[in-house]
Symmetry: D2
Subunit: 125 residues, 4 copies
Amino acid sequence: MKVKIFYHHTDCGGVVYYADYLKFLEEARTEFLAKKGILIKELLKRGIQFVVSHQEIDYKSPAFYADTLTIDTHLGNVSAIRIDFDYEIRNQDGKIICMAKTAMACVDANFKPRAIPADIRKGLA
Amino acid sequence: MKVKIFYHHTDCGGVVYYADYLKFLEEARTEFLAKKGILIKELLKRGIQFVVSHQEIDYKSPAFYADTLTIDTHLGNVSAIRIDFDYEIRNQDGKIICMAKTAMACVDANFKPRAIPADIRKGLA
Amino acid sequence: MKVKIFYHHTDCGGVVYYADYLKFLEEARTEFLAKKGILIKELLKRGIQFVVSHQEIDYKSPAFYADTLTIDTHLGNVSAIRIDFDYEIRNQDGKIICMAKTAMACVDANFKPRAIPADIRKGLA
Amino acid sequence: MKVKIFYHHTDCGGVVYYADYLKFLEEARTEFLAKKGILIKELLKRGIQFVVSHQEIDYKSPAFYADTLTIDTHLGNVSAIRIDFDYEIRNQDGKIICMAKTAMACVDANFKPRAIPADIRKGLA
Protein backbone atom coordinates (compact mmCIF):
# COMPACT_ATOMS: atom_id res chain seq x y z
CA MET A 1 0.00 0.00 0.00
CA LYS A 2 1.21 3.49 -0.79
CA VAL A 3 0.48 6.74 1.02
CA LYS A 4 1.38 10.23 -0.03
CA ILE A 5 2.47 12.59 2.74
CA PHE A 6 0.45 15.78 3.16
CA TYR A 7 0.77 18.65 5.63
CA HIS A 8 -1.72 16.96 7.97
CA HIS A 9 0.67 14.04 8.51
CA THR A 10 3.60 16.26 9.53
CA ASP A 11 4.60 18.29 12.59
CA CYS A 12 6.65 21.41 13.23
CA GLY A 13 9.81 19.27 13.36
CA GLY A 14 9.32 19.11 9.57
CA VAL A 15 8.68 15.34 9.51
CA VAL A 16 5.80 12.88 9.73
CA TYR A 17 4.43 12.84 13.30
CA TYR A 18 5.15 9.56 15.07
CA ALA A 19 1.50 8.70 15.80
CA ASP A 20 0.45 9.12 12.19
CA TYR A 21 2.32 5.97 11.19
CA LEU A 22 -0.21 3.99 13.22
CA LYS A 23 -2.93 5.30 10.90
CA PHE A 24 -0.94 4.00 7.92
CA LEU A 25 -0.64 0.63 9.66
CA GLU A 26 -4.42 0.49 10.18
CA GLU A 27 -4.93 1.20 6.48
CA ALA A 28 -2.30 -1.34 5.44
CA ARG A 29 -3.64 -4.26 7.49
CA THR A 30 -7.22 -3.44 6.46
CA GLU A 31 -6.17 -3.65 2.79
CA PHE A 32 -4.18 -6.81 3.52
CA LEU A 33 -7.27 -8.47 5.02
CA ALA A 34 -9.55 -7.18 2.23
CA LYS A 35 -7.31 -8.87 -0.36
CA LYS A 36 -7.94 -12.13 1.49
CA GLY A 37 -11.68 -11.52 1.39
CA ILE A 38 -11.89 -10.48 5.06
CA LEU A 39 -13.91 -7.26 5.34
CA ILE A 40 -13.92 -5.60 8.74
CA LYS A 41 -17.30 -4.02 8.01
CA GLU A 42 -18.82 -7.48 7.45
CA LEU A 43 -17.22 -8.83 10.63
CA LEU A 44 -18.78 -6.00 12.61
CA LYS A 45 -22.24 -7.11 11.43
CA ARG A 46 -21.46 -10.52 12.95
CA GLY A 47 -20.42 -8.90 16.24
CA ILE A 48 -16.71 -9.58 15.67
CA GLN A 49 -14.01 -6.97 16.13
CA PHE A 50 -10.25 -7.00 16.17
CA VAL A 51 -8.66 -4.60 18.62
CA VAL A 52 -4.99 -3.74 18.89
CA SER A 53 -3.57 -5.33 22.04
CA HIS A 54 0.09 -4.51 21.43
CA GLN A 55 1.93 -2.15 19.12
CA GLU A 56 5.66 -1.76 18.56
CA ILE A 57 7.39 0.54 16.16
CA ASP A 58 11.01 1.39 15.38
CA TYR A 59 11.50 4.75 13.73
CA LYS A 60 14.58 4.39 11.52
CA SER A 61 14.53 7.55 9.37
CA PRO A 62 12.22 10.55 9.16
CA ALA A 63 9.70 10.92 6.33
CA PHE A 64 8.97 14.33 4.82
CA TYR A 65 6.24 16.32 3.15
CA ALA A 66 5.40 15.05 -0.37
CA ASP A 67 7.17 11.73 0.20
CA THR A 68 5.42 8.61 -1.06
CA LEU A 69 5.65 5.79 1.45
CA THR A 70 5.15 2.11 0.74
CA ILE A 71 3.86 -0.06 3.56
CA ASP A 72 4.56 -3.78 3.20
CA THR A 73 2.38 -5.91 5.44
CA HIS A 74 3.15 -9.49 6.47
CA LEU A 75 1.06 -11.90 8.46
CA GLY A 76 2.85 -13.14 11.57
CA ASN A 77 1.59 -15.72 14.02
CA VAL A 78 -2.13 -16.52 14.09
CA SER A 79 -3.35 -18.10 17.33
CA ALA A 80 -6.88 -19.02 18.46
CA ILE A 81 -7.53 -15.46 19.62
CA ARG A 82 -4.81 -13.27 18.15
CA ILE A 83 -3.38 -12.18 14.81
CA ASP A 84 0.09 -10.66 14.50
CA PHE A 85 1.21 -8.36 11.70
CA ASP A 86 4.67 -7.11 10.74
CA TYR A 87 5.29 -4.16 8.47
CA GLU A 88 8.11 -2.25 6.84
CA ILE A 89 7.58 1.30 5.69
CA ARG A 90 9.93 2.61 2.98
CA ASN A 91 10.09 5.93 1.16
CA GLN A 92 10.27 6.54 -2.62
CA ASP A 93 14.04 5.94 -2.55
CA GLY A 94 13.65 2.54 -0.91
CA LYS A 95 14.99 3.87 2.38
CA ILE A 96 13.55 2.14 5.41
CA ILE A 97 11.47 4.58 7.51
CA CYS A 98 9.85 2.30 10.11
CA MET A 99 9.58 -1.33 11.16
CA ALA A 100 6.43 -2.20 13.13
CA LYS A 101 4.49 -5.05 14.72
CA THR A 102 0.84 -5.16 15.74
CA ALA A 103 -0.97 -7.81 17.77
CA MET A 104 -4.73 -7.84 17.19
CA ALA A 105 -7.07 -9.59 19.63
CA CYS A 106 -10.44 -10.91 18.58
CA VAL A 107 -13.29 -9.55 20.74
CA ASP A 108 -17.06 -9.48 20.60
CA ALA A 109 -19.27 -6.39 20.36
CA ASN A 110 -18.73 -5.81 24.10
CA PHE A 111 -14.94 -6.05 23.85
CA LYS A 112 -14.87 -9.49 25.50
CA PRO A 113 -12.17 -11.83 24.13
CA ARG A 114 -13.49 -14.54 21.85
CA ALA A 115 -12.01 -17.13 19.47
CA ILE A 116 -11.26 -16.08 15.91
CA PRO A 117 -14.03 -17.65 13.73
CA ALA A 118 -12.95 -20.64 11.65
CA ASP A 119 -13.71 -18.95 8.31
CA ILE A 120 -11.37 -16.08 9.14
CA ARG A 121 -8.58 -18.42 10.20
CA LYS A 122 -9.09 -20.29 6.93
CA GLY A 123 -9.07 -17.04 4.96
CA LEU A 124 -5.76 -16.08 6.55
CA ALA A 125 -4.12 -19.45 5.96
CA MET B 1 -10.92 27.18 27.88
CA LYS B 2 -7.17 26.97 27.41
CA VAL B 3 -5.16 24.58 25.26
CA LYS B 4 -1.43 24.17 25.12
CA ILE B 5 0.06 23.52 21.69
CA PHE B 6 2.07 20.32 21.28
CA TYR B 7 3.85 18.84 18.26
CA HIS B 8 0.76 16.83 17.35
CA HIS B 9 -1.21 20.03 16.70
CA THR B 10 1.35 21.47 14.28
CA ASP B 11 2.43 20.84 10.69
CA CYS B 12 5.65 21.20 8.70
CA GLY B 13 4.75 24.83 7.98
CA GLY B 14 5.73 25.32 11.65
CA VAL B 15 2.23 26.33 12.78
CA VAL B 16 -0.97 24.76 14.11
CA TYR B 17 -2.66 22.76 11.32
CA TYR B 18 -5.92 24.37 10.20
CA ALA B 19 -8.12 21.33 10.96
CA ASP B 20 -6.87 21.05 14.54
CA TYR B 21 -8.68 24.23 15.54
CA LEU B 22 -11.95 22.36 14.98
CA LYS B 23 -10.90 19.94 17.71
CA PHE B 24 -10.38 22.90 20.07
CA LEU B 25 -13.86 24.17 19.14
CA GLU B 26 -15.37 20.79 19.98
CA GLU B 27 -13.66 20.87 23.37
CA ALA B 28 -14.68 24.49 23.99
CA ARG B 29 -18.40 24.04 23.24
CA THR B 30 -18.50 20.78 25.22
CA GLU B 31 -17.09 22.62 28.25
CA PHE B 32 -19.48 25.53 27.63
CA LEU B 33 -22.46 23.15 27.68
CA ALA B 34 -21.13 21.24 30.71
CA LYS B 35 -21.00 24.50 32.69
CA LYS B 36 -24.71 24.89 31.95
CA GLY B 37 -25.35 21.34 33.16
CA ILE B 38 -25.75 19.89 29.66
CA LEU B 39 -23.69 16.73 29.37
CA ILE B 40 -23.37 15.26 25.88
CA LYS B 41 -22.86 11.79 27.34
CA GLU B 42 -26.20 12.01 29.15
CA LEU B 43 -27.95 13.27 26.00
CA LEU B 44 -26.64 10.26 24.08
CA LYS B 45 -28.34 7.95 26.60
CA ARG B 46 -31.62 9.70 25.71
CA GLY B 47 -30.95 9.21 21.97
CA ILE B 48 -30.16 12.87 21.41
CA GLN B 49 -27.12 14.08 19.48
CA PHE B 50 -25.94 17.41 18.17
CA VAL B 51 -24.13 17.25 14.84
CA VAL B 52 -22.27 20.09 13.16
CA SER B 53 -24.28 21.27 10.15
CA HIS B 54 -22.15 24.30 9.29
CA GLN B 55 -18.67 25.46 10.25
CA GLU B 56 -16.92 28.71 9.40
CA ILE B 57 -13.50 29.84 10.49
CA ASP B 58 -11.31 32.85 9.78
CA TYR B 59 -7.63 32.27 10.36
CA LYS B 60 -6.17 35.63 11.42
CA SER B 61 -2.67 34.75 12.68
CA PRO B 62 -0.73 31.52 12.98
CA ALA B 63 -0.26 29.78 16.34
CA PHE B 64 3.01 28.07 17.19
CA TYR B 65 4.45 25.19 19.21
CA ALA B 66 4.25 25.79 22.99
CA ASP B 67 1.70 28.60 22.61
CA THR B 68 -1.19 28.62 25.06
CA LEU B 69 -4.45 29.43 23.32
CA THR B 70 -7.62 30.67 24.98
CA ILE B 71 -10.93 29.81 23.33
CA ASP B 72 -13.85 32.06 24.25
CA THR B 73 -17.20 30.51 23.42
CA HIS B 74 -20.43 32.44 23.04
CA LEU B 75 -23.92 31.13 22.47
CA GLY B 76 -25.48 32.55 19.30
CA ASN B 77 -29.02 31.96 18.08
CA VAL B 78 -30.95 28.99 19.47
CA SER B 79 -33.86 27.83 17.28
CA ALA B 80 -36.19 24.84 17.67
CA ILE B 81 -33.67 22.53 16.01
CA ARG B 82 -30.36 24.37 15.92
CA ILE B 83 -27.78 25.92 18.25
CA ASP B 84 -25.21 28.44 17.00
CA PHE B 85 -21.86 29.08 18.66
CA ASP B 86 -19.30 31.83 18.09
CA TYR B 87 -15.73 31.66 19.27
CA GLU B 88 -12.57 33.72 19.39
CA ILE B 89 -9.22 32.05 19.83
CA ARG B 90 -6.38 34.17 21.19
CA ASN B 91 -2.78 33.36 22.05
CA GLN B 92 -0.91 34.11 25.28
CA ASP B 93 -0.22 37.68 24.09
CA GLY B 94 -3.91 38.37 23.49
CA LYS B 95 -3.40 38.25 19.73
CA ILE B 96 -6.43 37.01 17.85
CA ILE B 97 -5.67 33.70 16.10
CA CYS B 98 -9.09 32.63 14.77
CA MET B 99 -12.74 33.66 14.73
CA ALA B 100 -15.20 30.82 14.20
CA LYS B 101 -18.90 29.91 14.05
CA THR B 102 -20.54 26.52 14.38
CA ALA B 103 -24.16 25.56 13.74
CA MET B 104 -25.21 22.39 15.55
CA ALA B 105 -28.34 20.50 14.51
CA CYS B 106 -30.27 18.31 16.92
CA VAL B 107 -30.73 14.76 15.60
CA ASP B 108 -31.86 11.43 16.99
CA ALA B 109 -29.78 8.26 17.27
CA ASN B 110 -30.36 7.64 13.53
CA PHE B 111 -29.24 11.15 12.53
CA LYS B 112 -32.83 12.26 11.78
CA PRO B 113 -33.55 15.93 12.64
CA ARG B 114 -35.58 16.41 15.79
CA ALA B 115 -36.58 19.30 18.04
CA ILE B 116 -34.20 20.34 20.81
CA PRO B 117 -35.73 19.03 24.08
CA ALA B 118 -37.31 21.71 26.29
CA ASP B 119 -34.93 21.08 29.22
CA ILE B 120 -31.91 21.76 27.02
CA ARG B 121 -33.43 24.95 25.62
CA LYS B 122 -34.12 26.01 29.21
CA GLY B 123 -30.58 25.13 30.27
CA LEU B 124 -29.19 27.31 27.48
CA ALA B 125 -31.45 30.30 28.23
CA MET C 1 -9.86 12.57 -5.79
CA LYS C 2 -11.10 9.57 -3.83
CA VAL C 3 -10.54 8.68 -0.18
CA LYS C 4 -11.49 5.50 1.59
CA ILE C 5 -12.77 5.89 5.16
CA PHE C 6 -10.84 4.07 7.87
CA TYR C 7 -11.36 3.91 11.64
CA HIS C 8 -8.97 6.83 12.15
CA HIS C 9 -11.32 9.17 10.25
CA THR C 10 -14.35 8.32 12.39
CA ASP C 11 -15.57 9.15 15.90
CA CYS C 12 -17.73 7.43 18.51
CA GLY C 13 -20.83 8.92 16.86
CA GLY C 14 -20.13 6.28 14.20
CA VAL C 15 -19.41 8.81 11.44
CA VAL C 16 -16.48 10.72 9.96
CA TYR C 17 -15.30 13.39 12.43
CA TYR C 18 -16.04 16.91 11.20
CA ALA C 19 -12.42 18.12 11.28
CA ASP C 20 -11.17 15.21 9.16
CA TYR C 21 -12.92 16.58 6.08
CA LEU C 22 -10.45 19.49 6.16
CA LYS C 23 -7.65 16.96 5.69
CA PHE C 24 -9.44 15.63 2.60
CA LEU C 25 -9.75 19.20 1.31
CA GLU C 26 -6.00 19.75 1.76
CA GLU C 27 -5.31 16.59 -0.21
CA ALA C 28 -7.83 17.50 -2.92
CA ARG C 29 -6.52 21.02 -3.57
CA THR C 30 -2.91 19.78 -3.49
CA GLU C 31 -3.76 17.23 -6.19
CA PHE C 32 -5.72 19.88 -8.13
CA LEU C 33 -2.68 22.19 -8.15
CA ALA C 34 -0.28 19.32 -8.98
CA LYS C 35 -2.35 18.53 -12.10
CA LYS C 36 -1.76 22.12 -13.19
CA GLY C 37 1.97 21.73 -12.60
CA ILE C 38 1.97 23.69 -9.34
CA LEU C 39 3.89 21.75 -6.70
CA ILE C 40 3.69 23.09 -3.15
CA LYS C 41 7.07 21.58 -2.32
CA GLU C 42 8.69 23.56 -5.15
CA LEU C 43 6.95 26.76 -4.05
CA LEU C 44 8.34 26.31 -0.54
CA LYS C 45 11.88 26.28 -1.98
CA ARG C 46 11.09 29.69 -3.47
CA GLY C 47 9.84 30.96 -0.08
CA ILE C 48 6.19 30.94 -1.18
CA GLN C 49 3.41 29.42 0.89
CA PHE C 50 -0.36 29.39 0.69
CA VAL C 51 -2.12 29.50 4.04
CA VAL C 52 -5.83 29.02 4.65
CA SER C 53 -7.37 32.39 5.56
CA HIS C 54 -11.01 31.29 5.54
CA GLN C 55 -12.78 27.93 5.60
CA GLU C 56 -16.48 27.17 5.30
CA ILE C 57 -18.13 23.80 5.24
CA ASP C 58 -21.73 22.57 5.13
CA TYR C 59 -22.21 19.06 6.43
CA LYS C 60 -25.16 17.61 4.49
CA SER C 61 -25.05 13.89 5.34
CA PRO C 62 -22.81 11.74 7.50
CA ALA C 63 -20.14 9.49 5.98
CA PHE C 64 -19.42 6.08 7.49
CA TYR C 65 -16.63 3.56 7.96
CA ALA C 66 -15.60 1.87 4.67
CA ASP C 67 -17.31 4.54 2.54
CA THR C 68 -15.41 5.78 -0.49
CA LEU C 69 -15.72 9.53 -0.85
CA THR C 70 -15.09 11.54 -4.01
CA ILE C 71 -13.90 15.12 -3.60
CA ASP C 72 -14.51 17.38 -6.60
CA THR C 73 -12.40 20.53 -6.49
CA HIS C 74 -13.15 23.69 -8.46
CA LEU C 75 -11.12 26.83 -8.73
CA GLY C 76 -13.05 29.91 -7.62
CA ASN C 77 -11.87 33.50 -7.78
CA VAL C 78 -8.13 34.18 -8.11
CA SER C 79 -7.04 37.65 -6.98
CA ALA C 80 -3.56 39.18 -6.70
CA ILE C 81 -3.07 37.62 -3.26
CA ARG C 82 -5.76 34.99 -2.82
CA ILE C 83 -7.03 31.77 -4.37
CA ASP C 84 -10.52 30.42 -3.67
CA PHE C 85 -11.51 26.78 -3.97
CA ASP C 86 -14.95 25.14 -3.90
CA TYR C 87 -15.51 21.47 -3.32
CA GLU C 88 -18.27 18.89 -3.20
CA ILE C 89 -17.76 15.64 -1.36
CA ARG C 90 -19.99 12.71 -2.36
CA ASN C 91 -20.14 9.13 -1.19
CA GLN C 92 -20.12 5.96 -3.33
CA ASP C 93 -23.89 6.32 -3.93
CA GLY C 94 -23.49 9.85 -5.29
CA LYS C 95 -25.04 11.29 -2.13
CA ILE C 96 -23.71 14.72 -1.25
CA ILE C 97 -21.83 14.64 2.07
CA CYS C 98 -20.29 18.14 2.27
CA MET C 99 -20.01 21.40 0.35
CA ALA C 100 -16.96 23.49 1.23
CA LYS C 101 -15.03 26.64 0.34
CA THR C 102 -11.44 27.56 1.16
CA ALA C 103 -9.69 30.88 0.70
CA MET C 104 -5.90 30.57 0.48
CA ALA C 105 -3.66 33.61 1.00
CA CYS C 106 -0.20 33.84 -0.52
CA VAL C 107 2.49 34.53 2.11
CA ASP C 108 6.26 34.47 2.28
CA ALA C 109 8.41 32.23 4.48
CA ASN C 110 7.65 34.56 7.44
CA PHE C 111 3.87 34.45 6.88
CA LYS C 112 3.80 38.01 5.49
CA PRO C 113 1.25 38.54 2.69
CA ARG C 114 2.74 38.76 -0.78
CA ALA C 115 1.45 38.77 -4.36
CA ILE C 116 0.88 35.44 -6.06
CA PRO C 117 3.79 34.99 -8.54
CA ALA C 118 2.89 35.48 -12.21
CA ASP C 119 3.79 31.91 -13.20
CA ILE C 120 1.36 30.49 -10.65
CA ARG C 121 -1.43 32.80 -11.79
CA LYS C 122 -0.71 31.70 -15.35
CA GLY C 123 -0.70 28.04 -14.33
CA LEU C 124 -4.11 28.46 -12.72
CA ALA C 125 -5.67 30.31 -15.70
CA MET D 1 -1.12 14.59 33.66
CA LYS D 2 -4.82 14.28 32.98
CA VAL D 3 -6.66 14.32 29.66
CA LYS D 4 -10.37 14.40 29.07
CA ILE D 5 -11.66 12.31 26.17
CA PHE D 6 -13.56 14.15 23.45
CA TYR D 7 -15.14 12.91 20.22
CA HIS D 8 -11.96 13.71 18.31
CA HIS D 9 -10.03 11.09 20.31
CA THR D 10 -12.49 8.29 19.56
CA ASP D 11 -13.35 6.09 16.59
CA CYS D 12 -16.47 4.30 15.32
CA GLY D 13 -15.62 1.31 17.54
CA GLY D 14 -16.80 3.63 20.34
CA VAL D 15 -13.40 3.84 22.03
CA VAL D 16 -10.24 5.96 21.97
CA TYR D 17 -8.36 5.34 18.71
CA TYR D 18 -5.09 3.50 19.28
CA ALA D 19 -2.86 6.18 17.71
CA ASP D 20 -4.28 8.95 19.87
CA TYR D 21 -2.60 7.54 22.97
CA LEU D 22 0.73 8.50 21.41
CA LYS D 23 -0.42 12.13 21.45
CA PHE D 24 -1.12 11.79 25.18
CA LEU D 25 2.36 10.32 25.67
CA GLU D 26 3.91 13.30 23.86
CA GLU D 27 2.01 15.67 26.13
CA ALA D 28 2.92 13.69 29.24
CA ARG D 29 6.67 13.52 28.62
CA THR D 30 6.73 17.20 27.59
CA GLU D 31 5.13 18.12 30.92
CA PHE D 32 7.47 15.73 32.75
CA LEU D 33 10.50 17.46 31.21
CA ALA D 34 9.04 20.95 31.81
CA LYS D 35 8.72 20.16 35.53
CA LYS D 36 12.45 19.45 35.52
CA GLY D 37 13.13 22.77 33.80
CA ILE D 38 13.75 21.22 30.38
CA LEU D 39 11.78 23.12 27.75
CA ILE D 40 11.69 21.57 24.29
CA LYS D 41 11.17 24.99 22.72
CA GLU D 42 14.41 26.24 24.29
CA LEU D 43 16.30 23.13 23.16
CA LEU D 44 15.16 23.75 19.59
CA LYS D 45 16.78 27.20 19.70
CA ARG D 46 20.06 25.44 20.56
CA GLY D 47 19.61 23.04 17.62
CA ILE D 48 18.76 20.09 19.87
CA GLN D 49 15.81 17.79 19.27
CA PHE D 50 14.64 14.53 20.74
CA VAL D 51 13.01 12.17 18.26
CA VAL D 52 11.17 8.97 19.07
CA SER D 53 13.32 6.01 18.00
CA HIS D 54 11.17 3.25 19.50
CA GLN D 55 7.61 3.08 20.81
CA GLU D 56 5.84 0.20 22.51
CA ILE D 57 2.35 0.14 23.89
CA ASP D 58 0.12 -2.48 25.48
CA TYR D 59 -3.57 -1.75 25.25
CA LYS D 60 -5.15 -3.30 28.35
CA SER D 61 -8.69 -1.88 28.38
CA PRO D 62 -10.59 0.51 26.11
CA ALA D 63 -11.19 4.14 27.11
CA PHE D 64 -14.46 5.85 26.26
CA TYR D 65 -15.94 9.25 25.47
CA ALA D 66 -15.97 11.60 28.49
CA ASP D 67 -13.47 9.48 30.41
CA THR D 68 -10.71 11.31 32.26
CA LEU D 69 -7.39 9.57 31.85
CA THR D 70 -4.34 10.00 34.05
CA ILE D 71 -0.93 9.48 32.48
CA ASP D 72 1.87 8.68 34.90
CA THR D 73 5.30 9.22 33.39
CA HIS D 74 8.52 7.69 34.71
CA LEU D 75 12.05 8.24 33.57
CA GLY D 76 13.76 5.02 32.53
CA ASN D 77 17.35 4.60 31.46
CA VAL D 78 19.31 7.70 30.34
CA SER D 79 22.34 6.96 28.16
CA ALA D 80 24.73 9.34 26.37
CA ILE D 81 22.35 9.64 23.42
CA ARG D 82 19.00 8.26 24.51
CA ILE D 83 16.26 8.82 27.10
CA ASP D 84 13.69 6.14 27.94
CA PHE D 85 10.26 6.83 29.37
CA ASP D 86 7.67 4.46 30.84
CA TYR D 87 4.04 5.36 31.34
CA GLU D 88 0.82 3.96 32.74
CA ILE D 89 -2.50 5.35 31.63
CA ARG D 90 -5.45 4.81 33.96
CA ASN D 91 -9.07 5.91 33.74
CA GLN D 92 -11.15 7.73 36.42
CA ASP D 93 -11.84 4.39 38.15
CA GLY D 94 -8.15 3.57 38.44
CA LYS D 95 -8.44 0.89 35.76
CA ILE D 96 -5.29 0.45 33.74
CA ILE D 97 -5.87 1.40 30.10
CA CYS D 98 -2.35 1.26 28.61
CA MET D 99 1.26 0.60 29.52
CA ALA D 100 3.80 2.22 27.22
CA LYS D 101 7.53 2.81 26.67
CA THR D 102 9.23 5.42 24.50
CA ALA D 103 12.90 5.70 23.56
CA MET D 104 13.93 9.21 22.54
CA ALA D 105 17.16 9.81 20.63
CA CYS D 106 19.00 13.12 20.78
CA VAL D 107 19.61 14.60 17.32
CA ASP D 108 20.74 17.91 15.90
CA ALA D 109 18.73 20.23 13.65
CA ASN D 110 19.53 17.94 10.69
CA PHE D 111 18.36 14.80 12.51
CA LYS D 112 21.97 13.55 13.00
CA PRO D 113 22.54 11.70 16.30
CA ARG D 114 24.41 13.72 18.90
CA ALA D 115 25.19 13.41 22.61
CA ILE D 116 22.65 14.66 25.11
CA PRO D 117 24.03 17.97 26.50
CA ALA D 118 25.40 17.80 30.04
CA ASP D 119 22.88 20.31 31.46
CA ILE D 120 19.99 18.16 30.27
CA ARG D 121 21.49 15.00 31.71
CA LYS D 122 21.98 16.90 34.97
CA GLY D 123 18.39 18.19 34.86
CA LEU D 124 17.12 14.64 34.48
CA ALA D 125 19.27 13.19 37.27
